[in-house]
């Protein structure tokens, strides 16, 4: 609830299970990004709580890392320095931190670009730097707020194809990903579970478990039937009632 008593959410109950990619969809302005910030501890709910592995989340921590919709890279740091930022809480030695950062950059396909400044990179490369920074922090849960929104379709598709394998890599301690998007195809391509938010105050109108093998193709009839299902949830009059 905001200070002006405007109620944003009501009865929102989400579970991000182990090794699941969770999608969060809903119309613009419904509160998807706000919900992600609540999950990350950047905002505190006026009622209810967020738990990570049974413990309440009371403030931001590297165990729940947020990848922003706006590509956040620090222009005064090179790609590797940007990634090393997330290693600060680990208090590694400089050489070790550098090794971890190089590895994270390799994971997102940026080997050889370590010393470039963000201004010298394309949008796709910069978002990969932000993802590498998030991965390097060894989070348990990765929160992604429309991470492909500012990328061109080809770049976004390229990252989308890699991202699942990158994130659920055996070498990473990541247990779950929660991604917000208003792009239904994008979410269907990636998610194991999709929560549909709608209404005002927003509530979860549906939980859809996706049962499709990977890689998923938008040409697959099953893909389209899931798409129709979610479209129905989003356009359902009931979902919009006040």
């Amino acid at each position: 609830m905001f200070e002006n008593k405007y109620k944003v959410f009501e009865n929102v109950d989400l579970v991000a299970e182990d090794m699941k990619f969770v999608g969060l969809v809903g119309p613009s302005g419904v509160g998807k990004s706000t919900l992600l910030r609540l999950i990350g501890g950047f905002l505190r709910p006026s009622k209810g709580e967020v738990r990570l592995a049974g413990k309440p989340v009371l403030r931001p921590s590297p165990k729940l890392v947020l990848v922003h919709q706006s590509i956040v890279t620090f222009p005064w740091m090179t790609a590797i320095d940007n990634v090393m930022l997330s290693l600060i809480p680990k208090h590694l030695g400089r050489d070790e931190a550098r090794k971890v950062a190089i590895n994270a950059l390799e994971v997102v396909g940026l080997q050889g670009f370590e010393e470039l400044y963000p201004k010298e990179m394309s949008g796709g490369m910069r978002q990969r730097v932000a993802i590498a920074r998030a991965i390097a922090a060894d989070p348990m849960v990765l929160l992604m707020d429309e991470p492909f929104a500012h990328l061109d379709e080809l770049t976004a598709e390229g990252i989308r194809q890699d991202i699942y394998n990158i994130l659920f890599n055996k070498n990473l301690p990541l247990r779950s990903v929660i991604m917000v998007s208003h792009n239904l195809s994008e979410v269907l391509e990636l998610a194991d579970v999709i929560y549909v938010l709608n209404g005002s105050p927003a509530t979860v109108v549906a939980r859809v478990d996706i049962d499709m093998p990977r890689p998923r193709s938008p040409r697959d009839p099953k893909f389209n039937s899931y798409l129709d299902l979610m479209y129905n949830y989003l356009t359902n009059k009931k979902g919009r009632q006040r």
Binding site: F42, V57, W76, P89, H91
Partner: protein
Amino acid sequence: MTDAVLLILAGISATTSRVLGLILLSIVVGWFLSYYAIKSRLFENIFVAFVEVFESVPVISFFPIVLLVFVAGIGGPLGSELAVDFLVFTAVVWNIWIGEYQAFKTVPREMVEVSENYRLTFFEKLTRLYIPFSVPRIVANLFPSFSDGFFYITVSEAFSIGSKSYKVFGITSVISSYVIAGDWADVELALFLLSIVIVAIILLFREITKRSVAKYALDTDIPVIRRGRLNLLEATRRSGILSKNPLTKLANYNRQKKSRTAVDDYFEPEKKRRINYITAVIGLAILAVLVYGLYNIVSKVSYGTWMMLIGDTPGLLVDLLYDYLRVLIIVAVSMVFAIFVGYYFATNRTGEKIGLPAIQTFASYPTPIYFPFVFLATSVFVSSMFGYLTDEFFVLFLGFISTFYYVFYSFWMGVKAMPQEFTELMNNLDLNLFQKMRRVILPSAFPYLISGISATINSAWGGLMIGEYWPNIAGNKSLVVSHGLMKDIAVATASGNIALAAWASFIFGIIVVFYSIFFTKRMMDVSRKRYVAEEGIF
């Protein structure tokens, strides 16, 4: 001749070191104060009002404090040195602090979130986020601070209170000794060498500006200037030297140990900061000292003096109105100059290459040193043009040349830091100059402009303080206006009427506090909410 050159160079070194050293001190202190200001609403209100008040009070108004604390209290060469340092510090510090505060206030929210996400400590946030983000605004303020520092140091290295004179070693005292001896050749030599040093410093500042805008401003298309092969800064980095030191390994070991025990506190509520109580205690102590000091001052002034001061107040307020009108004119002219010339320089490489160093050098050359020559050369012509308003014209002109560069630099820097996408969009839409200014450039440079206007308004008072009452500016000619609060303060100080000077400064300070709360602070908030160009593009 060689002795004279050495003496002059020593004088210039002393003066320059004072100015640059105090600028550095201001920057470092400002980082900590600005950080605390953005974290505490209460401190922010006090800090901004405090900075505005002291920036607006002309440096010469600090003379009563200088007299009591440094000259009478400490005394001797140390007292005079501290008096000068205090006066120059008060001249350079405020716009740097406001610039840093403004930069800290406008750090994009996403960047703050990233720093929170990785649980950066206070020091890490400061060094990796806030300080780098503030660099473009600090360098934008280097030029005016340097100019202002030189302006006031020429006034304060040699000063008189009533019949007593105080001097510290520096270029002003060297020049003034040559003037007394009638040694004009050495005066010219000193002015020439001073020009060379000023130009060299300006060139250095320009290089720093170029590099810092390229590296630290968000999303400009200026290519990053990479370090050369030989880089003293990099080669002598503390971390590079210390990495071989066994003590560092021990420190790292301790830090690692500490981190392991601290990891699980992510799930604990944030501890209440003890610093708040400490700050409150310090604040209360300062308040108590101030109240006691105020009581002391008020109780020591006789009833008759109070009656006289209160009787003088309506006249002082009228004189203040005159001064506000002058400030308004100076600011309006400065803004027009800043917007058009600043935009031209920011978008025209050749114009900028030639014009900017010229303006920077001109602005840095201390006005009090050359203005008497300008007055002497032009007073007959100006008098034939303006008649009885001649002195008024000179005061406004002096105010303009001593302060226009604040808004000019800020606006120029704002346009330079504007995202390239904005420029491309304006060109794409084929907007004319007026449309570009109204729709994009002015809103985009708004935070910079506000900072610059605020500093120009506040510094204009310094120009007025010198110009409104300047006895024997050229031979037996004097520059005096009919009405003006700055004149009242200057006349009262010169005649030793410290009570009236302090009372007039006090009234002025009160007005400025209201101005700060109702104008500057509000405009800063608006600029934060609506006009952060860097947030428009990612």
